[in-house]
């Protein structure tokens, strides 16, 4: 990891030595025994943020939407209790940086969260002339309206997505995505008769969470591992997956394994729909899954009767994300409608212009 990035860290983290060279550009650290204990002596972070960071690190909050909204809520608490004697704009700017840096140290932030951070920082320009209380109120109102916009976006995506599910459809989804769950629940509430195939894979088995949420609603569900995708795809009419972000070249960053699902569906000419709010669109360009990813702790597996042999020549790799090339994706379902993945830069540029 670059030296500057290492120096900015708020936590004293030990680098993980057994990692692969091809991922040396990504942060790989050993999980600290105590997050509060690992904090650098000269810095301090609001306890609400520390709690949130630990929840991120322990994977108690999963999914980019949940993480984004949790971060905004934490910011509200921080701003409410914020006291400073410095110039308002600089002080708030530093505080935002500190909060985001701590969360980044606990677990790399998602692109949606990065966009939220940029938009918060650009609002700083508007509070230059205000006093402390006025600035706080302004920022808290802004955060409230952002959370509201995200929730409205989700409602619209649910509506547009549910419209695209017809009677007799067999919808395939991968792992667990909040928006996809909403779309399926919405379509079911509309009275549509369809069934769902959930594709899942280790080590997280997130598909089981989605399964537990859909089965009680009376939705007919099938559950398979990713190795069975070739067998199950002939039954499937549409594929619906969630996204962490959509890059400016139309590539979709999503849970590791989504690229396989999209690729196999594309080979059979089955339409692949990706559901993503526009606040998550990012200006970065992703050509493959190695340039950006999150390396997770290896040896995380539920299976202990099939242990991983230990040998100095053997390394285990556990990646969080996957990049789905734009060609595999038929349509992106957003709150402004259904757009092709190639139209994503329009929104990114529009936001850059506004900011």
């Amino acid at each position: 990891m670059r030296k500057e990035a290492f120096n900015k860290q708020l936590l004293n983290l030990e680098p993980y030595e057994g990692g692969l060279e091809m991922f040396s550009h990504l942060p790989q650290f050993k999980v600290p025994v105590s997050y509060t204990g690992a904090m650098r002596a000269d810095r301090s972070v609001h306890p609400a943020v520390v709690r949130l960071g630990i929840k991120y690190a322990k994977k108690k909050i999963l999914g980019s939407n949940a993480r984004g909204i949790a971060m905004l809520t934490a910011f509200k608490i921080v701003f409410k209790e914020f006291e400073t004697t410095e110039e308002i704009a600089i002080a708030f700017d530093k505080e935002i940086e500190t909060v985001v840096q701590f969360l980044e140290d606990c677990r790399p932030i998602s692109f949606g969260m990065d966009n939220i951070k940029s938009s918060l920082k650009s609002e700083i320009a508007n509070i230059r002339s205000m006093d402390l209380e006025g600035a706080k109120e302004y920022l808290i109102n802004y955060i409230d309206s952002t959370i509201q916009k995200i929730e409205q976006a989700d409602a619209l995506i649910t509506q547009y997505g549910a419209e695209k599910i017809y009677d007799g459809d067999v919808i395939l989804t991968y792992a667990c995505s909040y928006v996809v769950e909403q779309i399926i629940v919405g379509a079911n509430a509309d009275g549509k008769k369809f069934r769902v195939v959930i594709v899942d894979s280790g080590p997280k088995y997130e598909g089981k969470t989605l399964l537990k949420k859909l089965l009680p609603l009376g939705i007919e569900c099938s559950y398979v591992f990713i190795g069975a995708i070739s067998y199950i795809l002939p039954e499937v009419t549409k594929v619906l997956i969630g996204a962490n972000t959509v890059a400016s070249n139309g590539a979709v960053v999503s849970r590791s394994g989504s690229a396989i699902v999209a690729m196999m569906a594309h080979a059979r000419h089955t339409p692949v729909m990706v559901a993503c709010e526009t606040y998550k669109f990012h200006e970065r360009v992703h050509l493959d899954s190695i340039c950006y990813n999150e390396v997770e702790e290896p040896n995380t597996s539920q299976d202990n009767d099939k242990p991983i042999p230990s040998n100095k020549n053997l390394k285990c790799l556990s990646l969080a994300y996957d990049v789905i090339p734009g060609d595999y994706v038929s349509v992106v379902v957003t709150e402004v409608g259904l757009i092709p993945p190639t139209s994503v830069p329009v929104f990114v540029l529009r936001d850059l212009e506004n900011n």
Binding site: P216, E220, A228, M264, S289, P309, N313, L319
Partner: protein, 377 residues
């Protein structure tokens, strides 16, 4: 042909085999083939038969029973059809030797036929039925469609010897495959594989003795066969990385070659391989990575793929265990397919014990191992 007069031992042995197969005590192509061939040697030596046609019927009778234990597995019928082909070949060789003796008498009167006789003398030492030989039979006036009813004293010995040669061939495939290792694997290459294939293991271990390269192994859920394989390769000094199945597309961007094993090879050059192999082949196609299949030719099957060929499903409890389903997850449909079909256009090369072939050539090899008349089994 009185099917009730078979020796007790044979009937017990066949029954034993069926039970073991049903219980899954062996299921890899290698084990199934070896056990089937051993059983067929036993049948050939212990049952009473007068001529090749009798033996043919006996083998087909028991063969049907074995195949019915696992109708979706082509490996058992491969072994049986191979033996039926051997019976035909050895019968024809015995016929030639008899005819050959007859030719020697005619030689003095017909010079032209003596040339053919010399040709036959030379050819009968090789164990192959050439198209030319069939033509010569026509010349000599034999009917092409023999009913295999002639009795020969040395036929039983010949057949048992041939089957033992096949058993030896199957045992030695790993050496012959390993011989081709250095042609295909070079320094600093990154190779990806899935599951645990003995052929691939032999190939990689041989290459590792001379060259330094890396291997990425997909752990292949739900069997987790890849984990053991990764350990084996690491133990052989190869730099190995174990990845989850979900990362196959991710890592394919850095892979130079995909090398996989298979359960069976189909007549169109396609594969019946472990579930998950199709993902590797498809991802390799997207990234323009060659896919090499390492296999022994005993896995070559004279059948074409159909929707029903891939109906074998393993226990769903490997995916979601019974405790979970009994609780909150009732009414869920869980599927755990055993095999994947990989079409031949996704494959680049077959490395086998008898050389390297392209998928489009595989159908030609069928003629050397099987006869179309045995397809009715």
């Amino acid at each position: 042909m009185d099917f009730n007069k078979f020796p007790e031992e044979i009937i017990m042995a066949v029954h034993d085999f069926q039970v073991k197969l049903k219980r899954g005590q062996f299921f890899s192509s290698y084990e199934v083939t070896m056990q089937t061939l051993d059983l067929l040697v036993q049948i050939t030596s212990q049952c009473e038969w007068k001529n090749a046609s009798d033996l043919n019927q006996i083998i087909k009778h028991f063969g049907k029973k074995l195949i019915d234990t696992k109708p979706w597995d082509p490996i058992i019928s491969n072994a049986i059809k191979r033996v039926l082909y051997i019976i035909r070949e050895d019968y024809n060789i015995s016929t030639i030797e008899e005819t050959d003796a007859g030719i020697k008498q005619l030689r003095s009167s017909q010079a032209a036929i003596s040339d053919i006789g010399n040709l036959l003398l030379k050819r009968h030492t090789s164990k192959r039925l050439d198209i030319n030989r069939a033509g010569i039979f026509r010349l000599l006036g034999d009917k092409e469609k023999d009913d295999f009813s002639q009795s020969y004293t040395d036929l039983q010995e010949r057949i048992i010897e041939s089957i033992n040669l096949v058993i030896q061939e199957v045992e030695s495939i790993y050496e012959f495959v390993a011989e081709q290792a250095l042609t295909h694997i070079h320094t600093n290459e990154v190779i990806m594989t899935i599951g645990h294939s003995r052929c691939v293991e032999a190939l990689l271990k041989e290459a590792a003795e001379n060259r330094k390269f890396q291997v990425i192994v997909a752990e292949s859920m739900p069997s987790y066969a890849g984990r053991k394989f990764a350990g084996v390769l690491a133990g052989a000094g190869i730099e190995t990385t174990l990845i989850h199945d979900s990362a196959i597309h991710t890592m394919m961007a850095r892979v130079n070659k995909v090398i996989v094993g298979t359960h069976a090879v189909l007549a169109n050059g396609g594969l019946m391989a472990m579930a998950g192999t199709h993902i590797l082949a498809q991802a390799a196609k997207y990234h323009s990575v060659p896919v090499i299949v390492c296999t022994g030719l005993y896995k070559l099957s004279p059948i074409y793929p159909s929707q029903d060929s891939f109906a074998e499903l393993n226990s769903p409890s490997d995916v979601l265990n019974f405790e979970e389903v009994a609780g909150d997850l009732a009414h869920v449909r869980v599927i755990n397919p055993a095999w994947d079909y990989i079409p031949p256009d996704l494959l680049s090369l077959y490395i086998t014990n008898s050389g390297s072939y392209m998928p489009a050539y595989i159908y030609r090899l069928l003629a050397e191992y099987y006869h179309p008349d045995d397809d009715d089994i």
